[in-house]
Symmetry: C2
Subunit: 445 residues, 2 copies
């Protein structure tokens, strides 16, 4: 007898072979192909009104099945786009030639988010095959720009409020606590990302001829960046922490119950030590405190050997994770003021905003979340936990606000699955159990 899940995995491999990178327009063809593949897959699953809906950017794939009046309607959200695969040299096997090793599938997008997205497609396919109908109403909204911060999804949702209306938004794009401990995320940090560019001269200068007497763009960028944190890891921008909630003892106790091993994290990530804001535990630093990370930097000569120039230009990519009532636009203005005040003489600094999203929190006692927790527990050993997640899914807040719906962030990935990094992978046992869990969840209504 052919195990149905083997066929599902074959489909997953096919999906992973399509290079749906959204950060680089060179992959445009992959995006188009990926959207087309998904639409076909939804049709095969018995979904109706399947549609590839154009936006100003990459298309949204829509589908629905709405034949259970009186039952809740779920909007299933996921993204078929993936991060760029570079640095290619660090992958064990090619990022778009999925390979299964030790019951894990290795490919770009395996856990983020193609594998998790396909769980829902296969859950409804399986229900339709078994019963010829679904126990609830379902709509799919699968986008192709999550990795570039969903620039066109907000207008899309606003424009199609009626079409997308629902009771709950079901999303699998977050990690479980570990292989046997399910997790429903009840907090997501907001995000603000921008580029900082420093210019000091009209061309690179010879460091012998001018060194010591003229501004150096790399030096000035370094000074500016270093002014943004103090020695205790606190962000020094005036007003940055406005809207950040007080950390209550109750919250601290709740977070202390979440499993976390400092030693294991260090070993797994190859760290010699953790590093973060003083006075907070690592899980607090990740889950409930805002951060400012430097994601990339460049300037001057970067080739082999030496070129003794004074660089005329340097730039950095910077991203903040925001919490509570921190507003990304407000934070950006405070950073702008800080930069203006700390800009060293002789430098011209520009800031370009790339991403912004407000933080969002959910109530773990909500019915949609509680039923999801129970569904998990039929297939996993441990009780479901309700962590605050460090990442951002900007669209969640929009779904809640615009559609007046309850977000249910029911993840099947693992923190260790290298999302956004080389050798990204997805545990197939979670793919199989994920399908069963989602079926069971829908049946519980």
């Amino acid at each position: 007898m052919v195990d149905k899940s083997d066929i599902y995995i074959k489909d997953l491999l096919e999906f992973l072979r399509i290079p749906t990178v959204s950060t680089d327009s060179a992959y445009k063809e992959g995006i188009v192909k990926g959207a087309g593949w998904l639409a076909e897959e939804l049709k095969k699953s018995g979904m109706e009104n399947v549609e590839i809906m154009e936006t100003a950017g990459n298309p949204v794939v829509y589908a629905d099945w709405l034949h259970q009046p009186g039952k809740p309607t779920f909007l299933i959200y996921g993204h078929y786009d993936v991060q760029p695969p570079d640095p290619l040299g660090l992958w064990t096997t090619s990022p778009f030639e999925p390979e299964i090793r030790d019951d894990k599938v290795y490919a770009r997008g395996a856990t983020d988010d193609k594998g998790q997205l396909l769980i829902h497609v296969k859950a409804v396919a399986s229900l339709m095959e078994e019963y010829g109908e679904l126990p609830v109403n379902v709509k799919f909204c699968l986008e192709g720009e999550e990795e570039i911060a969903s620039p066109n999804l907000v207008p899309f949702v606003k424009k199609h409020k009626e079409k997308l209306s629902c009771d709950a938004v079901l999303v699998s794009d977050t990690p479980m606590m570990d292989k046997e401990t399910p997790a429903i995320v009840t907090g997501l940090r907001g995000a603000l990302a921008f580029e900082m560019n420093v210019i000091t001269a009209s061309s690179d200068l010879h460091s012998g001829a001018y060194g010591g007497a003229v501004p150096n763009a790399v030096h000035h960028l370094v000074k500016l960046l270093d002014s943004l944190h103090d020695d205790e890891g606190k962000i020094t921008v005036d007003g940055f922490y406005e809207g950040v909630p007080e950390v209550t003892n109750a919250l601290r106790e709740e977070m202390a119950r979440l499993p976390f091993s400092e030693e294991e994290t260090k070993r797994e990530l190859g760290l010699s030590s953790l590093y973060g804001e003083k006075g907070y535990t690592p899980l607090e630093q990740i889950g409930i405190r805002p951060t400012m990370e430097f994601n990339g930097i460049k300037g001057g000569y970067q080739g082999e050997g030496m070129k003794t120039i004074i660089p005329k230009e340097a730039s950095a990519k910077i991203s903040c994770r925001l919490v509570g009532e921190q507003h990304p636009s407000y934070v950006f203005e405070r950073i702008r003021e800080h930069v203006a005040a700390f800009t060293p003489e002789g430098a011209t600094v520009t800031l370009d905003k790339l991403i912004e999203a407000k933080a969002v929190t959910m109530d773990p006692d909500n019915e949609y979340i509680q039923k999801a927790a129970r569904a998990y527990e039929n297939f996993y050993e441990n009780e479901t936990l309700f962590p605050k997640e460090g990442g951002s899914i900007p669209i969640i807040e929009v779904f809640r606000g615009e559609l007046d719906s309850e977000p249910v962030l029911m993840g099947f990935g693992l923190q260790s699955e290298n999302m956004h990094a080389p050798d990204e992978h997805f545990n197939l046992s979670n793919f199989r159990r994920g399908i069963k869990t989602v079926k069971n969840y829908f049946e519980s209504f």
Copy 2:
């Protein structure tokens, strides 16, 4: 009547067409071709014992003419290698397709050092053609690794002490004060260049999943780099300034006499302001104070848009200009200690030394320097000045020590000729007058 200098310029263009980049092994063929071209040129000039002498790296081109017993022997040193041409996009015309505009020749190496080197070849060619002999003894030692800090020239000079023995070493690889003001450099800064590399994790991490709780290689590199200077532009490394001479009032007065316009420098280089160590004038900062410049930096995501990673690795290229008795190895050890003391938790830092050279100073009253000053003044409007130069020519100290000879740094370039930058060029009026000046200099003995 054909002007001889037109033929000389034709030869210069031919020389500039050969891409003799020494910093990149992809140009190896250009180096070989450049050395061969020079050897032919020296033969045509009537030089004897022309030889392409192999080293562990790029060859040295040697030639001599030694038929004036009792007269001084000059060793003419120059380099036929050039800086890399990138960034190519910023050149008005292609760097290895020389073009003459407004009596200036534009090409990589035009002023540094092919144009200046060829002045000497053409001066002896012209003397030989006019008189059938030279008024002094001459040896040529033209190397192909100056732009990578002459790694093989020191052993070469030590091995061939006898062959290279001389009374004075004549070098044209420094700038004049301006178009009508000749300059003989009487001080060169030393150099120490190294790469700093910071590693924090075994792979890039997702900033949503870990941001706030793990070390960030770019952030740690920034902290380390920013610890190297204080807010007044002073270098904070303990012991860095050991061996730096006191700045006497006499020296300050001498330097204050050198022409320097802050406004013009700013306009010319596109600076909004100068920037340097407090308490010193720009010419003091460049000429007699040590510096530490950041020549390049890289780490994390550098592509378009955003990739919200926590970078695992970042690196910077750093170079110091040294003065007086500062010893590069000693300074490097002090920097190593500083870095060890300031390395933030969670970072592994390595330093790789790339270049080292001690500073050197000359006495302006020396006969060889005085006669050079007088020769200049026959063809230029203003008196010759004797500046301290900010750059380093590591081999000069070796020539003086090993060959017991007097360095004469008689430049024909201009500070504004974009050496090491796009649109490098050389004023042909200085090429023509340079040939006359060198002929006159030799005739004065």
